[in-house]
């Protein structure tokens, strides 16, 4: 049995030594900063040591340490977990060394102040108060320990050379941080400009997409017109010739054509809304008149499934600022849905006004006694192509975009559409539109209308 297995701890060490990750820019900057400033630091401390009559071995040791340390720091930092951990280790070790050297020079005033302030600036800029606190602790402990062990007496006055060199170190070291943060801010400004330019490109691409969609839907509609038109023509001819078998099939072609046309129109509408290209035509509308017009259009739809249709309007409801055509489109869409999903039941359209969140709102409520929705289906109905389920789409028809478009249009008018539903019992959709238009309505600030205002506002004028 020849075991050549390397002990686990040794393998780990080998991995650690060989590790070569991409070096963090901060670690690289620190290395470039440490190499020259520690040479300056060596000169500064050496002049202090010479002034205090230290021997050549002490000078050699100081220089060797000051030259070796930056490389050692690099080695440690480039193998650290992350740049913050690398910085913390190195800055603490910086201050341990400085604490020791300060004690060995008898706390010569200028070198001590200069070197401590430099590394403190580094610690603050890298890790804030936490790093600075760790640094101060490291400095104090190292200085106190060295002072006790070496027995060098405290002599804090400085010579001209020490002072000059210390000022040099302070100036150079802190200037480098200043220059670094200046360059950093320049890079940030450049990055912001690049981002803005990218935004412009993205906006332009979005507009191009909308133009493409508009053109494409025109191209799609032209042959579809021919399909629908010819099938209608053939239907008339077949009816004249009493070919009822053909009439039924031709009606299917026409029906499918109309459905496809509806889809294309809805997709175009929605894409225009999403691209912010829907221009509302604001006008002051008498909502009672609007309600009557909508009800008249909806009545034939109600007869199809033998539904009873009632319309009522609370007293005192009057004018509203909105896009009348769009609001009608929304209400008709909701009424058509109610008629579609209800058989031999009741559909009710109600209008009332209430005050909430400091504004007056008109509420158009469309309720039915139809098939209703489960909670899960309710979560999907306002999503594009989220018609409660595919089976319903096949059974009842529709594009699955009507509710999405309706809601977006209401949001453009500063309002919203909300819903409540019980499976098997029926659904209620509520359209809330502010009576007065806000100064600058935009899709961005179309905040959802308060949904909990249902209670406590019954005094708003029920009939």
């Amino acid at each position: 049995m020849t075991a050549v297995a390397v002990p686990e701890s040794e393998a780990r060490w080998r991995d650690w030594l060989r590790r070569k990750d991409p070096v963090h820019p901060t670690v690289l900057l620190d290395y470039r900063l440490r190499v020259p400033t520690w040479i300056l630091g060596a000169l500064m401390f050496a002049s202090a040591l010479i002034a205090r009559g230290s021997g050549w071995h002490m000078l050699t040791l100081t220089f060797a340490t000051c030259i070796a340390w930056p490389h050692l720091a690099w080695f440690v930092a480039s193998r650290s977990r992350n740049s913050k951990a690398a910085e913390l280790r190195n800055l603490v070790l910086d201050l341990v060394l400085i604490g020791m050297l300060s004690a060995l020079t008898g706390f010569s005033l200028w070198p001590t102040i200069a070197s401590f302030l430099c590394i403190n600036a580094g610690a603050l800029s890298v890790g804030g108060w936490r790093f600075a606190l760790y640094g101060l602790l490291a400095f104090t402990v190292a200085a106190a320990a060295t002072h006790v062990v070496s027995g060098v007496p405290i002599a804090s006055s400085s010579t001209v050379a020490e002072t000059a060199l210390s000022i040099g170190v302070l100036f150079i070291y802190t200037s480098m941080f200043g220059v670094h943060s200046y360059l950093q801010s320049r890079r940030m400004v450049a990055a912001r400009h690049a981002l803005l330019a990218q935004n412009r490109i993205a906006e332009e691409a979005n507009r191009a997409k909308s133009r493409f969609l508009a053109n494409m839907s025109h191209e799609l509609r032209t042959p579809l017109n021919a399909i629908i038109g010819y099938s209608e023509m053939l239907e008339e001819q077949a009816a004249d010739e009493h070919r009822s078998d053909l009439v039924a099939d031709l009606q299917r072609i026409r029906g499918a054509g109309r459905h496809l046309l509806g889809l294309i129109n809805d997709v175009l509408d929605l894409s225009k809304i999403e691209a912010g290209r829907t221009e509302l035509v604001w006008e002051t509308v008498d909502s009672r008149t609007l309600l009557d017009e909508v009800a008249d259009t909806a009545r034939p739809l109600m007869r199809k499934n033998a539904n009873a249709f009632t319309v009522d309007c609370a007293r005192g409801v009057g004018l509203i600022e909105c896009d009348g055509v769009r609001l009608k489109q929304v209400l008709l869409n909701l009424l058509a849905n109610a008629a579609k999903f209800t058989r031999e039941g009741r559909v009710r359209l109600r209008l009332r006004q209430e005050r909430a969140a400091g504004r007056d709102w008109q509420l158009f409520e469309i309720s039915d006694t139809g098939i209703g929705m489960t909670a899960e289906q309710m979560g999907r109905v306002f999503q594009a192509f989220g018609q409660a389920d595919a089976q319903i789409g096949r059974e009842y028809g529709g594009t699955g975009l009507g509710l999405v478009i309706s809601r977006r249009l209401c949001q453009l008018m500063g309002g919203d559409v909300t819903m409540a539903s019980t499976w098997g019992k029926g659904s209620t959709f509520t359209v809330r539109i502010p009576v007065e238009r806000r100064a600058e309505p935009s899709p961005g600030d179309a905040e959802p209308a308060p949904g909990d205002a249902e209670t406590g506002s019954a005094q708003a004028g029920h009939a």
Binding site: A214, S217, H218, R221, T222, P223, L224, N225, A226, I228, G229, Y230, E232, M233, E236, Q237, L261, N265, L268, D269, K272
Partner: protein
């Protein structure tokens, strides 16, 4: 006397389909394929009514309508604009250009017939 309709439409299928359906209802249908040809045909063929598609080659339907309505001899001919659905501005522009009526494509044939009859009757008075 059968009424003569000028159908201005650049798409061959739509032209064929619409003209055959109109012919079945007893109208005489003449054609033009672009806006310039429409202005020329209006002068030469003296139709009783014009059905004008709006997106046409050479000059578009709006400009052709404007020219017809600017002509003393032709301005009394009623023009029905045929516009695409989603272009809501199209219908308003058509009316601004002088069209008497508009109908979105694909046309509701019975509704279109009603509009044609109404305009022809108004002109006969």
């Amino acid at each position: 006397m059968t009424a003569k309709l000028l159908l201005v439409e650049d798409n061959e299928l739509n032209r064929d389909m619409l003209s055959r359906r109109l012919a079945r209802r007893g109208y005489e249908v003449v054609f033009a394929q672009d806006g310039q040809a429409a202005v020329d045909a209006a002068a030469k063929l003296a139709p009783d009514l014009i059905l004008m598609d709006m997106s046409l080659p050479v000059i578009d339907g709006w400009e052709a309508t404007r020219r017809i309505k600017a002509d003393q001899g032709l301005r009394t001919i009623p023009v029905i604009a045929l516009t695409a659905h989603a272009m809501q501005g199209d219908a308003n522009r058509a009316l601004a250009a002088g069209c008497d009526e508009f109908e979105t494509k694909p046309v509701e044939f019975e509704r279109l017939l009603a509009k044609i009859e109404q305009l022809l009757a108004a002109r006969a008075r």
